[in-house]
């Protein structure tokens, strides 16, 4: 190689070296991210919030992994706790894709970081400071083309202010927990836009959990069915009518004057629920219960005069919006074994460490085999090599036996699972709200993975690890990986003889109807089980007394009558639960202790065997060899 050629190659090499750092940046596809957080950028503390991440891909089509990380608090040694949600998405060339997420907003929430990567290479990201966006106010969501519901802020009571937010139809959550932040959703008009079916389902499921949904009337009511709300409306809207005077409307009762003026009132026919107020045959206020929540229809437009200035407007709204919905994000961190459900299941279990006599037998057998090998006289019968061989054989065999007997047969140190669920429904709704609590613990330290065949469930890590001084070492954190319709929960590592608690909430289909009526001193009950599983240990709970029904097979309808005087005390476990099943009795007692003391007319109480939510624990075993227990409560018609 001559000097000129050498110089040429050196120049090429240097220019390549100089260009190298820029190569990845040039070849890396870059995307632009934007996020719509909460409702109108408002987050309610202690509730879940919807996030829509818009990802614009100006480059070529790419398979991207999108992760959203929320951090909060300052946990162990200043390391913040948090939640990470990972989702796969295909980003077409030159397109913008909106990807919905659900994030928790604890009181000490700090930041939201969105990261888009392709094949492990970061392609874009976004950081948002969440703290300035949070509020402690109650929120009401108004689906309206105008800011016409602001007057509802006057409903603010002593326990905090109330704000009305106006999400766009496109931005409405696709998961029921996306509405966790709002106390009510008021549908005024959708600007002739149609909701997607997943948005309607999310709204319906949210109502089942205790939400309040209000459809207002007037001319805009004609948009409700075309917008996709048909199956939620308690009425069928047939047209519009003009009125100059309306009868008094007072859902809460009391004396309220009628309204005078020019009204546009939606004409309707009742489909489900009850007419609360009517003007002759024209329903003015209709209410329908769905699960724990309610759906209201107001035939008039409350945002227009003269209703907006009517004296009874605020009391009416106060009554309608006075639900008692329990927030989805209600699983406050606590010690796992302090949870009443888990404590009752664990204390009813007899599983223990392998007994000492078993160990004594093992040690005695080993020593009995070792003794003749060691004490045998040396000589032709026990040459050193034979002794060595026997020593090796005996000790290796004993090692394998010790591991197999104590580590596999008598005791399994792997991940153990205790799970209990509450399934709540109203008769005939076809939907039930499920709260499943899962305690995982292990004798040896290991990571926990839960696979959930659902994309809409709310997962909370509620079981905290506590130190000797009984203080929390760190907040629970989770990694949720959502692929298609499956969610994988990771991020919870169980320590040695440590227990953690997961709380999962979801809405599942459940076709059970119950009717319980009292005629004199007789209680007549009709229960129809349209579910594929049998209902076990059923009884009717009425006025604090229980009336047994036994097992109800799938598809069966049971008619029973009881003398009211024959009702038993439901906490008397011997009466209702199969003999020896102390786990059910313990769970029922814990549940009865936790239950709301509401004046519920009548309930069907029963048991669904097995976990209700479709979830699996790779490597996990059900503690004590028993399936999870699910307590069913169906409120009668």
């Amino acid at each position: 190689m001559g000097p000129r050629r050498f110089l040429r190659w050196t120049a090429i090499a240097i220019s390549l070296l100089l260009a190298a750092p820029g190569l990845p940046a040039q070849s890396r596809p870059s995307v632009r991210c934007d996020a719509l957080v909460g409702f109108n950028g408002i987050l309610r503390e202690g509730r879940f919030a919807p996030v829509i991440l818009s990802v614009e891909n100006p480059g070529a089509k790419m398979q991207a992994e999108i992760s959203l990380q929320v951090t909060w608090g300052s946990g162990l040694r200043g390391a913040p706790a948090g939640r990470t949600v990972v989702r796969d998405a295909v980003l077409d060339a030159g397109s913008t894709r909106r990807i919905p997420f659900l994030i928790p907003v604890p009181r000490s929430v700090r930041t939201l970081r969105a990261t888009v990567s392709s094949r492990g290479v970061p392609a874009g990201g976004l950081d948002i400071e969440l703290r300035p966006m949070t509020t402690t106010s109650r929120l009401v969501a108004g689906i309206s083309s105008e800011l016409s519901l602001d007057g509802l802020s006057a409903l603010a009571s002593g326990d905090g202010s109330l704000r009305v937010v106006y999400p766009r139809v496109d931005d409405l959550p696709v998961s029921w927990a996306g509405y966790d932040a709002v106390d009510a959703v008021i549908v005024h008009d959708t600007s002739f836009q149609q909701l997607r079916s997943d948005q309607v389902t999310a709204l319906e499921s949210w109502v089942v959990t205790g939400g309040v949904l209000v459809f207002t009337g007037g001319a805009a009511a004609l948009q409700h069915e075309p917008a996709g709300f048909g199956r939620l409306l308690p009425v069928e809207i047939t047209g519009l009518t003009q009125r100059t005077r309306l009868a008094p409307v007072s859902p809460a009762g009391g004396s309220v004057h009628g309204m005078a003026g020019r009204f546009e009132v939606a004409e309707s026919r009742l489909k489900q629920g009850r007419v609360v107020a009517a003007d002759g045959s024209l329903p003015l206020v209709v209410a329908r219960t769905l699960g724990r929540g309610s759906i209201w229809f107001l035939a008039f437009d409350p945002t227009m005069p003269p209703v907006s200035s009517w004296e009874g407007a605020l009391p009416m709204w106060r009554y309608i919006l006075g639900g008692d919905r329990v927030p989805a994000m209600g699983a406050a961190p606590r010690e796992t074994l302090a949870d009443p459900w888990i404590a009752s299941l664990l204390s009813a279990s007899s599983v223990s460490f392998p007994p000492v006599p078993a160990l004594l037998v093992f040690v005695a057998c080993y020593l009995a085999l070792l003794l003749p090998v060691v004490t045998g006289r040396p000589g032709p019968g026990m040459r050193p090599r034979i002794r060595l061989l026997l020593l090796v054989v005996v000790s290796v065999s004993a090692t394998i036996a010790g591991w197999a007997v104590f580590g596999r047969v008598l005791f399994q140190p792997g991940l153990q699972v205790l799970d209990a669920a509450r399934v709540e429904a109203r008769s005939g709704d076809g939907l039930a709200a499920v709260t499943e609590k899962i305690a995982v613990f292990a004798i040896s330290a290991q990571p926990v993975e839960v696979r959930l065949a659902s994309a809409g469930a709310v997962v909370e890590a509620a079981g905290i690890r506590t130190g000797a001084a009984n203080f929390a070492l760190f907040d629970p954190s989770l990694l949720l990986s959502e692929r298609g319709n499956r969610t994988t929960v990771r991020g919870i590592d169980v320590g040695r003889l440590d227990a953690r608690l997961l709380v999962i909430q979801d809405i599942v289909p459940l076709d059970v109807s119950v009717s319980a009526e009292i005629h004199g001193s007789i209680l007549a009950a009709i229960v129809k089980n349209g579910d594929l599983r049998s209902l076990k240990g059923c009884f009717i709970l009425k006025a604090g007394r229980a009336y047994p029904l036994g097992e109800i097979d799938p598809g069966a309808t049971v008619h029973r009558t009881f003398d009211l005087a024959e009702g038993f005390e439901p906490l008397d476990q011997g009466t209702w639960f199969p003999e020896g099943d102390s786990r059910r009795a313990g769970l029922w007692k814990a549940e009865a202790g936790e239950a709301d003391q509401k004046n519920i007319p009548a309930q069907l109480i029963g048991w669904l065997e097995g976990p209700v939510l479709p979830l699996t624990f790779p490597g996990g075993t059900s503690f004590g060899g028993r399936p999870g227990l699910a307590l069913l409560r169906v409120e009668s018609e």
Binding site: L337, L346, S347, S349, S350, V351, S352, F353, P354, V356, L359, L360, F362, V363, Y366, L367, L370, L371, V374, T375, P378, P384, R385, R387, L388, L391, V392, S395, V396, A398, T399, I400, A401, G402, W403, V405, F406, G407, L410, F411, Q412, P413, F441, A442, I443, S444, A445, T466, A468, D493, G495, R496, L497, D498, A499
Partner: protein
Amino acid sequence: MREDLRLYLSERAILRTYLFIAGALGLALLAMWPRTTIEAALRAGSASDTFTVVAVCFLLFLLYLGARYGAEDFSGDSAGRLREYVTLTGVSLVSLVGRRLIFAVLHTFLLLLIGAPFLAAAMAVGGAGFPQALSALAVIGAASLAARMCGLLVLTLVGGRRPLRDLFLMPVLAASLVVTYILAPRTNPFHAIAFLLKDAEGSSTPLTCAAASLGVALVLAGCAVAVLSGVRSHAKRRGGTGA
């Protein structure tokens, strides 16, 4: 090597030490076996220390016995035999010490096998997996080997005078363990075993400790070669002067 094999598998005193290991570990296991329910253990928030205690006992026994084996305390004439080998034959000292080191490795392996059933039984209730059990065995074996080489070094230094050996061997061993526990805990076998199950992130510590113990064993073996070399040259000088 064959002589060593015959000695360690036929000498009654040595064979009794095998029974001692098994019996003492069995007692330790029985004493530390958890007698509570899982619920009580979970509520107490304290995991069973069965595995750790059994492993520490095993380490203690093998350290003591390793030092004794190394110093040839269980065979009365072997100290004299070693000196004869060195002074009367021209056998390579590296080869001589190397053979003892290799036999020590094999013998330690046998001793580990004798105690392994108790560790296996303790694994389940103590919350240890295979990696932890193998790590514990590695730490115990390597530490025992180092103690054995320490015994050999003392044997080469002091010779057949048993009281003098006892005066040196155990205090030196104990002092080195105390000093390393304070100054370099990552290299101390007791520290490694005690924190084997507690320190989830320090999974490399037991292997570091085992490697350190092996290094110490090799250094001590080298020292023994040096001392024996000195003994041989001294004997040669005395033999030359005598002639």
